[in-house]
Symmetry: C2
Subunit: 271 residues, 2 copies
């Protein structure tokens, strides 16, 4: 089964476009997890157990593991999802990007070491930096297009021949990089008008949409701007807004409540 | 001491602009290292011991460690250089780039976990993705500008208001991102004319120059195009061309010969 097929099944099974971002920041853990040796994994496990029937994907952010020398807990987290909830795809958020020979090693990191179903990458180095990822036909590759942060406009909005760079990137990926039909794009929730412009360019290609929750994106606007005709096409990711809904011992049930609410708010506006 | 000061001392002490890139690919190791548990570290150590008096920096490429679950050997490699040869700066080549809250974690990974003196990052997400790195005043941040690979032109050469994107990136970094005077740029050796254009824009800002050796950049052309008035300003990096000069047990002495030769060829053309 390809990533896109797995994603489509998860959209349908859980009637959800919500992705939970796993950004485990140990400083924000409840005190009961403070001295636990595999606290990061235990935190993630509790969040996953509390939300697995409500989401279309999980997105662990590798920086939170690397900063703590906790690659082993990232491996355990992904393995746990794939063993317990094999219908839910895992998108490793690592935004790698390098020349071809190095990119091959990063693809091994994402797809063979961590066994992620999909990975985020950065397009700045061009096609040959993406190709080693794209060659994994059954895996998904999510390319940065228009990100959700303040500084996104520094480069991504620059005008290149009558269109902003992020639109040029979207069209290049659609026309030249998507030969295995396994590309997706990061398009931030904070800019719905830009999302609808990208949707025009790329057809039904799925978008990974960060920026709801902590970053404040408007749900109605983004769903209307980004969904495909059948009411899917979006992987709407919230991290901090979900996993730190409570910093007490009820963090997992608080996370569940936020996801229930977010799924409902999103579904209200789906075709 | 800031990174730039440490680099300047190393340029002078070893009379060298050569940086050795540590891209340890276990498949290319000599057979004597095949079953050694910390083979990656042992390989790096041999290369470092054989070249430390000839280089201005080492540049470990993190993908080669991550693909092998060998973060511990990356830590050991950097620690070895800093203990045995503390005058030689270490540039961690990881090309990270993410929104601010995540970028903070990547900065912790590079500067606190691995204790690198400098790190490479990707500018596509804009200023706030670089800021957490730049705030480490004494560390160096090397931003991708014009890379050495084939696909570099896909995005980096696009015309933005009368100049290619890589020049816009160079000027943005010079004018707005370099408030702590700790920025550097990646400018590939494969395009000397582009390097001289970037030199015009950025003044004396150091360039990390990949693409000599295996990627075939012309040494005379790049030194003339990229050096500053005092004959420095360049960190000319060769990885595969040095460390796999021999795939036999004499790999370290073969690497030394290549570096001796490369340093000499470069120094011929320095101001």
């Amino acid at each position: 089964m390809t990533f896109i097929e797995k994603l489509s099944c998860a959209w349908e099974k859980n009637n959800s476009l919500v992705c939970v971002g796993l950004d485990p920041d140990t400083e924000r853990f409840p005190s009961s997890l403070r001295d636990v040796p595999d606290a990061i994994f235990q935190f993630n496990k509790a969040i996953i157990d509390a939300t697995h029937d409500l989401v279309c994907a999980y997105k662990p952010q590798i920086a939170y593991f690397s900063a703590e020398s906790a690659e082993d807990q990232l491996e355990k987290t992904i393995q746990y999802i794939q063993t317990e909830y094999p219908d839910i795809p895992v998108i490793l958020d690592s935004k790698r990007g390098d020349i071809g020979s190095t990119a091959k090693k990063y693809a091994v990191e994402a797809f063979e070491r961590y066994k992620a179903d999909a990975v985020t990458i950065n397009p700045y180095l061009g096609f040959d930096s993406a190709e080693p990822f794209l060659n994994y036909k059954d895996k998904g590759t999510v390319l940065l297009c228009r990100t959700s942060n303040r500084g996104a406009n520094d480069l991504q909005d620059l005008d290149v021949g009558g269109m902003p760079l992020y639109q040029k990137v979207a069209s290049m990926i659609t026309e030249q990089w998507n030969f295995n039909k396994n590309c997706m794009l990061v398009v931030g929730a904070t800019w719905p008008s830009q999302m609808s412009e990208v949707r025009e360019i790329v057809g039904d290609m799925p978008f990974l949409v960060p920026g709801v929750g902590a970053q404040g994106g408007d749900i109605e606007a983004l769903v209307k701007a980004g969904q495909t005709a059948n009411g899917t096409g979006l992987i709407i990711s919230s991290s901090r807004g979900v996993i730190y809904a409570s910093e007490g011992d009820n963090f997992a049930s608080a996370a569940r409540s936020v996801v229930v609410d977010l799924r409902e708010k999103i579904n209200l506006h789906r075709n």
